[in-house]
């Protein structure tokens, strides 16, 4: 580890530990985890190690932030190792500590640590419900790996190292989505979860493809991947090339940050355990795209057309996903589409050049969406506890709450979906803490004053209203829908009567789960303080990295409209879902008035089906066709066996009608058709054993040679 001499003050030398702390954590858990788990305190130990690892990363990030502010926000680069040096390609592994990266580090490791702690409790129960306690260890290994990769992503000093983290988090996403790889979300043996994992990885890879191409163009245009080297040359490069780079990069963004058209993996990603959904698929990884655009601000700012494309992509995603969220029944699916929608807000923001607003929303969203997901996890656990209660009343005498006698069931037990809101209802009584936490999250997400979401979303809308009216309207509509579907969720989950026995018997979660939630709830409430209008703390902080940023004046008009709309949406949702709570087996009350529209929302506008029909099926068909017809039947069997090997045999069989050998040679010879056999049968007589014919052949030779010599 050789540190540059430029780093002589502050704690910058600690920078590598943001990565190595989680690496150490995961190694400890890989090596000793199994041993831990054999002990009664094992799970606590595993979880503690992992949380500590993440916590150290957070602490280091905080120290870096402190050092950075002490250094007046000047960029500090901590070189670490040389990576790839070929010709003009000089890739080093260097830590970049600037205000932007430190912000990300703090958000990632902070939220990450909380979620680690939460997961200690959550996974304890989850692995028992899914009946594989050994997997506890693996979970924390993956989580630490994720923190590592995410830190690598945000701390990198070049596009390529960023890409390393970029793909790394994709891998962790894959691993964690497929954490329960041998079942579906309901615990039944199935390919569903692993399919979801694959889908996530491949969709991400498609995005990565765009990133790669962007990287290639960039390298051959700028001669470097290093941020500063690229940014300082921006003026000297043709805008066309920069447009190309930025647009290809956008492809990467749509993959990672789940934007149209590559968002489809994110809803499926909910197959992962809830802490994963919270950490990776809401708070951190999916925001990498936003981070990337922000990081590339110098590039994007020079090409307005590309900026507009980015903004429009974000805005459309925000709206589109919001409509789908309205029609979902799964508590996590709603949140997933909500995440997509919110990511759309952020992408739209950074696309419009409102980088601070985007980053602001990124941070607040991390708080409240993590809160929501974790609370949803708590709800699910509560329901599972209730259901567990019911179905295992015989085998688990220890549960003294089993007063409800049920009819004897044969295995497998009835399929119960603890995440389906139609199975819930009235949970505010059984899970009061969770209820309140959820309400906090909802209000933040809906953008109700004074929750964090209000401030950050408002800033985005404000920016849009000033420069991009069309995007403003789209985003406003999306914000309206956001409030609506969140209201719908609250009414469906926590109000009314339990629509399932399990909901009636749901139990509140333990403090290990709820305490991190409370922290997050506090953050969701107070996060707006980061960048209050007028103070613009975050804005000024980020200015060190992003340069001077125009700060629009707070507009009461915009804030008022959005708040009013949000409240109205919540009111409408009360009208639809709160006033007359849903009954068991009842159809969604929106189905009737909206008709086809709602069917579309329910079915996610058939995008998955469309992709399957358009791309997946065709790819499978193509690859089967190539493999079986072209490669095997045509190329291998027909061309190579019949034409090449067959000709070979045919030539030899001209003289003989014998079959050479058994298996091996026959395999060659079997390709021969009847036709060749007939031909060879008629020609085989040449070497016929008759001495006169042999003499004939000699004379033939003589005649031919003489003929040639005499007539030539």
């Amino acid at each position: 580890m050789h540190l540059s001499e430029t780093v002589n003050t502050g704690f910058f030398f600690l920078a590598p530990w943001i990565i190595f702390a989680p690496v150490v954590g995961l190694l400890v858990n890989i090596i000793f985890g199994g041993w831990f788990l054999k002990r009664s305190w094992g799970e606590a130990a595993v979880g503690t190690v992992a949380s500590l690892a993440s916590g150290i990363a957070f602490a280091v990030s905080a120290l870096l932030a402190w050092s950075l502010s002490a250094a007046h926000g000047e960029v500090v680069v901590v070189p670490f190792a040389e990576w790839i040096h070929i010709g003009s390609l000089q890739l080093d592994w260097t830590f970049r500590v600037d205000t932007l990266s430190v912000t990300m580090m703090l958000a990632v490791s902070g939220v990450g640590t909380l979620i680690h702690i939460y997961a200690i409790g959550y996974m304890h129960e989850d692995v028992r419900f899914k009946k594989d306690e050994k997997r506890y260890q693996r979970f924390f290994v993956f989580m630490n790996l994720f923190i590592t990769m995410m830190m690598l992503l945000v701390s990198s000093d070049s596009y390529l190292m960023l890409f390393v983290g970029w793909e790394g988090v994709g891998l962790c996403s894959f691993l964690l989505i497929g954490f329960w790889y041998d079942m579906d979300t309901l615990g039944r043996p199935s390919w569903a979860n692993s399919n979801a994992a694959n889908k996530a990885f491949i969709a991400n890879r498609i995005g990565d493809f765009g990133f790669l191409i962007a990287g290639f163009i960039m390298f051959w245009a700028f001669g470097s991947f290093q941020f500063d080297e690229v940014f300082t040359q921006v003026g000297a490069i043709a805008p066309g090339i920069i447009t190309a780079i930025t647009l290809f990069m956008l492809v990467g963004v749509t993959g990672k940050s789940a934007q149209i058209p590559l968002y489809v993996w994110l809803p499926d990603a909910m197959a992962g355990p809830t802490p994963v959904s919270a950490l990776i698929h809401a708070a951190t990884m999916v925001t990498a795209g936003v981070y990337l655009v922000t990081r590339s601000a110098p590039l994007y700012s020079t090409v307005p057309a590309a900026q507009y494309v980015v903004a429009l992509t974000g805005a459309l995603t925000a709206l589109f996903a919001a409509t789908i969220a309205v029609g979902q029944y799964d508590i996590k699916k709603v949140l997933a589409y909500s995440t997509i929608s919110q990511l759309g807000f952020m992408v739209a923001a950074v696309g419009m050049g409102a980088y601070v607003a985007g980053m602001f929303h990124l941070v607040t969203h991390a708080f409240f969406k993590a809160l929501l997901f974790l609370s949803a996890g708590s709800v699910i656990l509560g329901l599972e506890r209730g259901h567990h209660h019911l179905s295992h009343h015989e085998g688990h005498q220890g549960h003294e709450g089993s007063h409800h006698e049920e009819v004897r069931r044969t295995e497998p037990v009835e399929v119960f979906d603890p995440g389906d809101m139609r199975n819930m209802g009235g949970l505010r009584k059984t899970m009061p803490v969770t209820f309140w936490l959820y309400v906090f999250g909802t209000l933040a997400l809906a953008g109700i004053f004074p929750f964090a979401g209000f401030w950050s979303k408002d800033e985005i809308l404000l920016d849009a209203s000033l420069h991009y009216p069309d995007i403003y309207w789209i985003l406003t509509l999306a914000a309206f829908l956001t409030a609506f579907y969140m209201g719908r969720q609250i009414w469906m989950v926590f109000f009314g009567e339990p629509r399932h026995e399990a909901a009636a018997h749901a139990e509140e979660s333990k403090p290990i789960i709820t305490i991190p939630l409370m922290v997050l709830a506090a953050l969701a409430l107070l996060g707006g303080g980061l960048n209050l209008p007028g103070a613009h703390t975050l804005g000024h902080w980020l200015e060190h990295t992003l340069g001077e940023i125009e700060v629009p004046e707070f507009s009461l008009m915009v804030a008022g409209v959005s708040t009013a709309l949000a409240l109205a949406a919540i009111g409408i949702s009360w009208l639809v879902y709160g006033r007359n709570p849903l009954k068991a087996e009842q159809k969604d009350p929106l189905k009737k008035p909206l008709g086809f529209l709602f069917t579309g929302m329910e079915n996610k506008w058939w995008v998955d089906e469309g992709y399957k029909w358009l791309i997946l099926d065709n790819y499978v068909r193509l690859s089967k066709f190539l493999a079986e017809v072209i490669d095997w039947r045509f190329w291998h069997d027909w061309f190579h066996e019949k034409i090449i090997a067959g000709t070979y045999n045919w030539l030899s069989n001209i003289a003989l009608n014998k079959y050479a050998d058994q298996q091996g040679i026959d395999a060659f010879a079997n390709g021969l058709g009847e036709w060749t056999k007939e031909v060879s049968a008629s020609l085989r007589r040449v070497q016929n054993g008759f001495v006169r014919s042999y003499a004939l052949s000699v004379l033939l030779g003589v005649v031919l040679i003489l003929g040639y010599l005499l007539l030539k």
Binding site: A81, W83, I84, H85, I86, G87, L89, D132, K134, R138, L160, F163, V164, G165, W166, E167, G168, L171, G178, Y181, D182, M183, P189, S190, W191, N193, S194, N195, A197, N198, F201, I202, R205, I206, D208, F209, L212, I213, G215, F216, I217, F219, W220, Y619, V620, L622, S623, K624, L626, A627, E628, D631, W635, H636, F639, H640, Q663, G664, A667, F668
Partner: protein
């Protein structure tokens, strides 16, 4: 005696010592035979490390040369000329590295005719090392052809049900290419009066139209070996039928002989022709990448899937080589090593599970990660390496190749179109598709029928044992090492590649 103590001679022919010892060992002492072979190959590996320690990475030329006149009658000028440079040192190391690993993998897999197996394996090592070291065309050709023989036996005796067919096909197809190369070698010997590779490169001056023919003749041999699309048809047969160790060596080293041939002979000897052919070679390479990936995805046989993936991976190597810039070529060479490690490891792992289940049908697998966590984790790492995840070796190679190919595709580049790199990059997506598909079908999802099937035979599926893990660990070490810190590997080849690029650049103008 001095002759045999020259480092490269010793390196190449040391396995023969093992062969001699084996000849005199009783054939029923199986473990003794195995240990003899293993120790021999380990010593050979040690010698290769010794060679590495003497290798001067900053010198772009051939080093540690052993050069004796060999056949010098009647105007012949054939030499025994062995030398190593940055283009070959890694491949030599790869060979000596993979051989002990492969031998280790046969411990339980090969029970029949152990002695013969080890004999052929060590002979194969001699041939492979020789191919990478020979600097005389005739000598090269001898080693090149010689490798066919032991491999033919390895497939034909210890292979799967259609082994004879596969072995014959392997032999005939590769020989078909190499005889054309023989003619080209003869032409060079007659017209240029030398078989010495460095001398021929220095001499140059082959007319462009003839260069093209010679290029094609050499390319025929190498392209079949690589195998480039559409000459790959022998590969799935050979791989599927070969025993695990054979597959490892076949994929790990023998295929590299083809790509190495391009870089050692085709590019420097016929630079004008190579430049002319570059877009076409790149086209075939890219088709190979896409086609191999697509076809892999449709396979139900794990080994076949990996075999087709080689077509795709080697396509990357070829694309890199014909990018003709430092990034492309260095990436290509590194990718040769990477493919040897990753695909070798994949074959080893598939072989290990096959030893337990006796099937490679993906349909019967599933959910094994739960039963065999170590196995699953290793497979995952190797799979990720194979699909080019950053941080693992595959990425470093593929990325530099694509970067190089993109550069070569821009104005003034030899490929003329960035589409090659673009489509190849799309191949990276497809790699994820088939590798994940395989990983999923084996390790994820619900428990497959094979678990019950194996239980029926009285023993449950077990996780990897210590020997199997020891077999895998060295590979994993390099998979991570190259992925995280490839600098020493690039440093070994950089000067030699730069020298090659200078030759190519000169030919471009």
């Amino acid at each position: 005696m001095k002759f045999f103590l020259e480092p490269l001679t010793l390196l190449t022919f040391f396995p023969l010592v093992g062969v001699l010892v084996l000849l005199f060992l009783p054939s029923d002492k199986k473990n003794l035979l195995r240990w003899t072979a293993l120790v021999t190959s380990l010593v050979t590996f040690g010698i290769s490390l010794w060679v590495l320690s003497m290798f001067n990475a900053s010198n772009p030329d051939l080093q540690l040369a052993t050069r004796y006149p060999w056949i010098t009658v009647a105007g012949w000028n054939i030499e025994y000329h062995m030398a190593v440079d940055g283009l070959s040192i890694l491949l030599v190391l790869l060979t000596t590295f993979l051989t002990p690993i492969s031998i280790l993998s046969t411990w339980a897999a090969v029970e029949e005719r152990v002695k013969d197996f080890m004999l052929f394996f060590l002979l194969l090592e001699v041939g492979m090392t020789g191919v990478f070291l020979a600097q005389d065309l005739f000598l090269f050709y001898i080693f090149w052809e010689f490798t066919l023989v032991p491999m033919y036996f390895l497939i034909g005796i210890w292979g799967g049900p259609r082994r004879i067919y596969a072995a014959l096909k392997f032999f005939l197809y590769t020989m078909a290419g190499s005889i054309l190369m023989l003619l080209a070698i003869l032409w060079l010997g007659i017209q240029q009066g030398s078989f010495s590779v460095p001398e021929l490169i220095e001499m140059g001056g082959i007319p462009a139209d003839i260069q093209l023919w010679l290029f094609l003749a050499f390319a025929a041999a190498f392209a079949i070996k690589v195998p480039m699309w559409p000459l790959h048809s022998w590969l799935p047969d050979a791989h599927v039928e070969a025993p695990t160790a054979g597959s490892v060596i076949l994929a790990g080293v023998l295929l590299k002989m083809g790509t190495y041939g391009f870089i050692r002979f085709n590019l420097p000897l016929f630079p004008e022709a190579a430049i002319q052919a570059a877009p076409w070679m790149a086209l075939l390479a890219v088709i190979g990448i896409i086609y191999g990936a697509a076809v892999s995805y449709a396979q139900q046989d794990a080994k076949k899937l990996v075999a087709y993936s080689s077509v795709s991976h080697l396509g990357f190597v070829m694309l890199g080589l014909f990018a003709m810039n430092p990034q492309g070529i260095q990436g290509g060479i590194l990718q040769m090593v990477n493919h040897g490690l990753s695909t070798g490891a994949l074959f080893l792992l598939v072989g290990m599970i096959y030893e337990q289940t006796h099937t490679r049908d993906l349909k019967v697998y599933g959910g094994l990660w739960k039963i065999t966590p170590v196995f699953g984790s290793l497979m995952l790492i190797v799979a990720l390496s194979s699909m080019g995840l950053p941080g693992l070796n595959g990425f470093v190679g593929e990325f530099t190749i694509l970067l190089g190919a993109w550069g070569a595709g821009m104005d003034g580049g030899v490929l003329g179109s960035v589409l090659f790199a673009g489509f190849a990059a799309a191949g990276v997506i497809m790699a994820a598709v088939y590798i994940l598909y395989m990983f999923q079908k084996m390790f994820l999802g619900p428990e497959g029928s094979i678990v019950e099937e194996v239980k029926k035979h009285g023993h449950a599926l077990r996780d990897l044992n210590a020997r199997e893990i020891i077999t895998m660990v060295p590979l994993l070490v390099f998979i991570f090492w190259i992925g995280l810190y490839p600098k020493p590997f690039f440093a070994l080849m950089a000067p030699a590649v730069d020298k090659l690029v200078v030759i190519l650049q000169a030919a471009m103008h």
